[in-house]
């Protein structure tokens, strides 16, 4: 099962993951860092979006683990 992991120390709150899939990612109101709403992509579309989010995350705070 593919899982999404977020490293809050690396996150700089750019919000690119939220733009990619608002069902899976949110941001803390306080410091803008990522909040994982779903740590396991629900379907192929969610997995595709998760891969994009990992690729475009500017601080490399997101990763996928098998």
């Amino acid at each position: 099962m593919t899982k999404i992991a977020a490293d809050l120390d690396r996150c700089v709150g750019s919000g690119q993951c939220v733009l990619t899939n608002p069902d899976a990612f949110d941001q803390s109101d306080e410091d803008g860092t990522v909040v994982l709403l779903q740590d396991t992509p629900a379907d192929d579309e969610a997995l595709k979006r998760a891969r994009i989010a990992v690729e475009i995350c500017p601080s490399r705070a997101l990763s996928l683990t098998e």
Binding site: V12, G13, G15, D29, I56, P58, S59
Partner: protein, 396 residues
């Protein structure tokens, strides 16, 4: 052998300067160039290399480092203000960015949408009520982002002429060192007074909240300066360039008008092809680093040719073509790494509201002069257009 001077003029508005493309297509994609400061810098030009450089902590953003790449002969005036977040490296950078980034989350930006829509409506009303042709830059491109950033920060919009002229002076490549220093000083003094007023009489705006959080007024000053300059001309230039591009492509404009879901992908593509802040991603190496088979030594200046990278054929299919439905978001138009543009989600939303509203409300909008005669900004650090005369038919 001396390195060739960095070329900054675009032959085509939506292509990088020829020299940057030539560097990108060499074997390593990395070359040395001489900057206007006289410094010899490494120029990176491929997307992969630039993303690697901008996420590598061995490259510093410290502009006070004597070898940090400069586009001016003289050192910037570091004595006038404390360094802002774009000049900080880890570990100082993280807490400083997190103290403000909550103001720019996707949700916070969505909350601004109704007010931005209102601002856009009012400016289109005013343009329609005025003479034809109108200058789109003065009527819409500049005042909308300017008013939005003023309201967000809590800067009185009545003073916008003052900081408009000052930020233009700062971004110009032709201003003298003395002129630049004077513009920075006057803008700093203005903001300093405003922040002192807010400290005495707390306001519910971005600057007021920064003070209420207990941030040092000197740091709030540097932040205010950065956001005012960065939030001003960048979005304005993208509005102008985007409108011109769409008006030149009537079929795609019609499709966009039919289906607003096309607007955001189109904006990503416009951001990519124009890469207006193409020289905004400079660093200085603080350790020896190998990139693409080239060893960059500690202390050497490095320049990211972001525009060339955003047209890199190894990263984008038919990279030279404008494909408004491309949907590629791996470009570096907003930079990459920990300093990626703080206001990018605000910029996207402003562009979306402006394009959707303008093209829907004025379906007959057209350029009043041919696109290839427009005064493109080859004299500024941020690319754009000085003036865009537009006209339209009376509604039937």
């Amino acid at each position: 052998m001396t390195a060739p001077a960095l070329q900054t003029t675009r032959r085509c508005p939506y292509a990088p300067p020829d020299e940057h493309t030539r560097i990108r297509d060499t074997e390593s994609g990395i070359s040395q160039v001489t900057l206007p400061s006289g410094q010899v810098a490494w120029a990176l030009s491929r997307l992969e290399h630039i993303r690697a450089m901008l996420t590598d902590p061995r490259f510093s953003s410290d502009r006070q480092h004597p070898n940090f790449p400069r586009f001016t002969r003289e050192q910037p005036a570091f004595d006038l203000m404390r360094p802002s977040i774009i000049q900080l490296d880890p570990p100082e950078h993280g807490p400083a960015r997190k103290a403000v980034v909550g103001e720019f989350t996707v949700r916070r930006m969505a909350g601004l949408r109704p007010r931005i829509q209102q601002i856009v409506n009012e400016h289109i009303d005013a343009m329609l009520a005025g003479p034809r042709p109108a200058d789109l830059v003065r009527a819409l491109s500049l005042p909308v982002p300017s008013l939005v950033i003023c309201e967000q920060l809590g800067v009185p919009y009545r003073d916008h002429d003052f900081f408009q002229s000052h930020s233009s002076a700062l971004l110009s490549r032709v201003v003298t060192a003395e002129g630049r220093r004077q513009a920075v000083t006057e803008l700093r003094d203005y903001l300093k007074e405003l922040i002192a007023e807010k400290a005495a009489d707390p306001a519910d705006d971005l600057l007021g909240r920064q003070l209420a959080q207990g941030n040092d007024p000197e740091d709030v000053l540097s932040l205010a300066f950065l956001l005012l300059i960065a939030g001003h001309e960048t979005t304005a230039n993208m509005i102008s360039l985007g409108v011109v591009t769409m008006l030149e492509r009537p079929d795609e404009l019609a499709a966009l008008r039919e289906d607003p879901a096309r607007t955001l992908p189109a904006i990503e593509e416009l951001l990519r092809v124009y890469t207006i802040a193409e020289f905004a991603n400079s660093r200085v190496a603080v350790e020896d680093v190998e990139i693409g088979g080239v060893t960059i030594r500690a202390g050497e200046p490095v320049l990211a040719l972001s525009n060339a990278a955003n047209h890199d054929p190894s990263a984008f299919d038919e990279a030279e073509e404008i494909k408004l439905d491309r949907g590629a978001r791996n470009h570096v138009a907003f930079g990459f790494g920990i300093h990626q543009c703080l206001g990018q989600n605000l910029a996207r939303m402003e562009l979306q509201i402006v394009f959707d509203t303008l093209f829907r409300r004025i379906p007959t909008l057209r350029l009043a002069t041919p696109a290839d005669t427009l005064p493109y900004k080859n004299d500024a650090l941020i690319y754009g257009i000085h003036e865009v005369p537009v006209t339209w038919e009376d509604p039937a």
